[in-house]
């Protein structure tokens, strides 16, 4: 198997050489430029063959980038250290999945990933069936060509950036015998899939951006426009949600600090577009159903993409201080800023010129207490949260620039300022689903919400008893309220269906999607509240030490050496028993401390057991040899153990949220038309 693999690699390597990859990238850039220019000319001159070129160009653009990836991956698997990217980030003894994943763990590779994902979105847009008698819901071909052209323009700029300042195919001379290897912290399956997920979320907002530009060019953003754009907003949002969840999980499970969110600029850079993206997700509904908020929705679409661009790239320019940024290079920053100015600034300029002339809504207005009103309030709150995070992130460099003062804005600030807005947001989230469009009479609404309201009120006392602080308890109650209200919505809709057509699968897909997403938020919030009660204990232990912690007995039974592919490790065996030392075994934790000799780095490899109601978490600190009074050598280790209530709910909720999004994307079953009367 191994031999087959090697011969295959050897056979492919001459064809898929780094030079072919470089050429493919250059070709992709040209194809993207053509994809951007030709269809626009075709649309302007009403010349349909030119317009129709958008699809084949988008597909070949994507293919070219896939080829350049193939070249890069073959070079990485074949340990071609004549490539600078591979020499700097890989090593012979690195396990092969990380040889591939390591390709996007650095600036050049991640940029290539970014443009490739964008081209995949283009290809998807090109491949999905267009509007035809068979597919009345498909995109009209002209709109699709225009979207592809706009995305082509965006791609071309970033591919040019990739080619000129951050070429992943640069050769290195003299060729080193072995690579430098990558940061051992990044050698983790979670981090291998994190960038692709997160980036596909970031990049996904390019499609709504293109939709918004198209609407501004037309001077019209009607319900139909919103209906076409909405799946793309939802898919980007779902992927970004997953990406952020995975990032938080990675912080929790790999960094070994027991925390999951540190309000670092890099994390904020993902959170900011997520917040505006969530606002967009909700406002586009209003445009689709009621034709209100058009210009606001367009602005959000433009801003979300501009913010995700700035988030991805400005953290690399070295302006924002971050723990985990790539190697900084201000010269690259200037190019990025130029691109940002071109796309983000250009989009906003177009907005300034065209938005005031958008057609006003033809539908009647609404009262504050209505579905529209609730969605507007939701947008205000989400944008306020976004403004807080954005200001906090940008404040230090701008203060230094303007007044020469250095200050820090960190976790305590963000926690203090965002919490008061999360509470009304949750309150609103539960109630809004029961509100009808336009006008909600108070009494029927209250009646509709009576059941979840009662259930939630009943949960107050237990919550205050279970959760450690008053705030955690109240947020938990609100989270329950969100979940109850979403379930109530599903159930009550189920019972309003006529008896003979009743069925869970017959409920509208969008209702399922919304309810699931809201339930996901509730679950994540419960996890957050649970984590407020997390406990930890730090002890110095030797084999045979027992610790009573979190209602369990933790015993260190053995310390064994462990050989990894490119590291040496000491593994501790901790047996956790229920109640006391004689209780039934609950779990065995095996945390390691790993030494990577190549990088000279020590990495904690924490061990976690996820249980429904709590995570048991152990990290092995330093190991030292000591002499006992009997002149025997024994080892003493530093152990850090955590008991994290409801920790897995955080990630579970994130997945449910994203699932809600995915559910919305699955095309609804064709309704059987009634035999015509």
């Amino acid at each position: 198997m191994q031999a087959l693999f090697t011969t295959l690699l050897a056979a492919l390597a001459p064809v898929f050489s780094p030079e072919s990859g470089h050429f493919a990238l250059a070709l992709a850039c040209v194809l993207a430029a053509l994809q951007g220019i030709l269809p626009l000319i075709g649309l302007r001159r009403a010349h349909s063959p030119l317009t129709a070129l958008a699809r084949p160009l988008a597909l070949s653009h994507c293919l070219a980038l896939l080829i350049s990836w193939a070249c890069l991956i073959i070079a990485a698997l074949g340990d071609d250290f004549s490539l600078k990217l591979i020499a700097d980030n890989s090593a012979i003894n690195k396990p092969w999945p990380y040889k591939i994943a390591g390709l996007w763990g650095n600036h050049e590779g991640s940029l290539l990933l970014w443009v490739s994902l964008l081209s995949l979105y283009c290809a998807l847009l090109a491949l999905l069936p267009g509007q035809s008698p068979r597919h009345p819901a498909g995109l009209p071909p002209r709109l699709r060509s225009r979207l592809l052209a706009l995305l082509g323009i965006v791609s071309a700029g970033f591919e040019l950036f990739c080619l000129t300042t951050s070429n992943p195919f640069l050769r290195l001379w003299p060729v080193p015998i072995d690579g430098l290897g990558m940061n051992p912290l990044l050698q983790d399956p979670g981090l291998a899939v994190h960038p692709p997920l997160l980036y596909s979320g970031y990049v996904g907002f390019a499609v709504p951006f293109a939709f918004a530009i198209s609407a501004l060019l037309d001077g019209r953003a009607d319900a139909l426009w919103a209906r076409y754009a909405r799946p793309w907003v939802i898919s980007a949002w779902a992927l970004l949600t997953l990406g952020i969840t995975l990032g938080a999980w990675w912080s929790y499970a790999v960094l070994g600090w027991g925390g999951y969110w540190f309000w670092d600029p890099v994390e904020n850079a993902a959170l900011i577009p997520w917040l505006t993206g969530t606002a967009l997700l909700h406002s586009v509904i209003v445009v689709e159903k009621r034709s209100h908020l058009q210009s606001w929705c367009l602005l959000l679409a433009l801003a979300t993409f501009a913010l995700s661009l700035s988030g991805t790239f400005l953290v690399r320019s070295g302006i924002l201080n971050s723990v985990h940024a790539f190697a900084n290079d201000p010269a690259r920053g200037l190019f990025i800023l130029a691109l940002l100015g071109l796309y983000g600034g250009g989009g906003l300029l177009l907005f300034a010129l065209r938005a005031p002339n958008l057609l006003p809504p033809a539908t009647p207005s609404f009262t504050p207490l209505s579905r529209e009103g609730a969605l507007v309030l939701n947008n205000i709150l989400l944008c306020t949260l976004c403004a807080i995070v954005l200001t906090g992130t940008l404040y230090p460099p701008f203060m230094q620039l303007l007044f020469g003062r250095t200050l820090s804005v960190g976790k305590p600030f963000f926690e203090a300022t965002t919490t008061p807005f999360i509470i009304p947001l949750l309150l609103l989230m539960g109630g809004s689903m029961a509100l009808p469009w336009r006008y909600a009479p108070i009494n029927p609404t209250l009646r509709r919400l009576a059941l979840p309201l009662c259930l939630t009120l009943g949960a107050i006392l237990p919550a205050f008893w279970l959760f450690p602080t008053a705030l955690a308890a109240s947020v938990a109650v609100l989270a329950l309220w969100v979940i109850n209200a979403a379930l109530n919505d599903l159930i009550s809709r189920f019972y309003t269906m006529p008896q003979e057509h009743r069925g869970l699968s017959r409920l509208p897909r969008s209702l399922w999607a919304t309810s699931l997403a809201h339930i996901g938020v509730g679950i994540t919030m419960l996890g957050l509240c649970g984590m407020a009660g997390s406990q930890e204990r730090l002890i110095e232990a030797q084999i045979g030490t027992h610790l009573h912690f979190g209602g369990h007995d933790w015993a260190l039974t053995a310390l064994t050496p462990h050989h990894g592919p490119n590291y040496e490790a000491v593994e501790a065996h901790i047996i956790i028993r229920r109640h006391d030392a004689h209780g039934p075994v609950l779990a065995i934790l095996e945390p390691q401390i790993r030494l990577f000799p190549q990088q000279g780095q020590k990495i904690l490899h924490v061990a976690i057991i996820h249980r429904p109601l709590e995570d048991l978490y152990a990290a092995l600190g330093s190991v030292k040899e000591v002499q006992t009074p009997q002149d025997q050598n024994t080892y003493r280790v530093i152990l850090r153990v955590h008991e994290n209530p409801l920790a897995s709910w955080l990630w579970f909720g994130g997945i449910i949220m994203a699932m809600g999004g995915v559910l919305h994307l699955i095309p609804a079953r064709r309704k059987r038309r009634p035999a015509c009367a």
């Binding site: 009262t367 205000i380 404040y395 300022t417 919490t419």
Partner: protein, 155 residues
């Protein structure tokens, strides 16, 4: 204003007080008294490690952070208040060491941003609500409802 900010701070402290892990790698560093140790951790979480980026001294494993952690604990044991300790740190390392900047003229925009953006949001949304021209139709009367039902049943 001040009171309000303090309230926010208090809320956050209640929620997140004990949720953060830290980089202390030896139990000797911790104070024997758990209450005092908790207090020390809370102070440390508000102080930025000056060597690394965006980590508090409780989270950082840098030697300077370790020294500062030690000073926090020493001063706590001497009976100094958290406010005094933070001030002591600020005298030496400047406002930069506070992860939560003090409310002052230069940080007013930062602290007022939540309220500002909320206000802007409501101002922008006001015309949407105020534009109401026609009152919503009155709910159906019993007669109308019956008529409708008859109409549908006939169909």
């Amino acid at each position: 204003m001040r009171v309000c900010l303090k309230g926010l701070l208090l809320l956050a402290v209640c929620l997140y007080g004990s949720s953060i892990g830290h980089a202390i790698d030896s139990p000797d560093e911790m104070l024997p008294d758990p209450v005092l140790e908790q207090k020390a951790q809370h102070i440390g979480q508000q102080l930025r490690c000056l060597v690394c980026q965006n980590e508090s001294i409780e989270e950082s494993s840098a030697p300077l952070a370790k020294d500062l952690r030690h000073i926090v604990r020493q001063q706590l044991q001497q009976g100094r208040s958290p406010k005094d300790i933070t001030l002591w740190m600020t005298q030496r390392y400047g406002e930069f060491i506070r992860l939560q900047p003090r409310f002052s003229a230069s940080t007013a925009l930062l602290w007022l941003m939540p309220f500002l953006s909320l206000m802007i949001g409501f101002l922008l949304a006001r015309p949407l609500w105020a534009r109401r021209t026609s009152p919503p139709p009155a709910p159906l009367t019993v007669e109308e409802r019956q008529k409708l039902n008859q109409f549908f049943n006939k169909d």
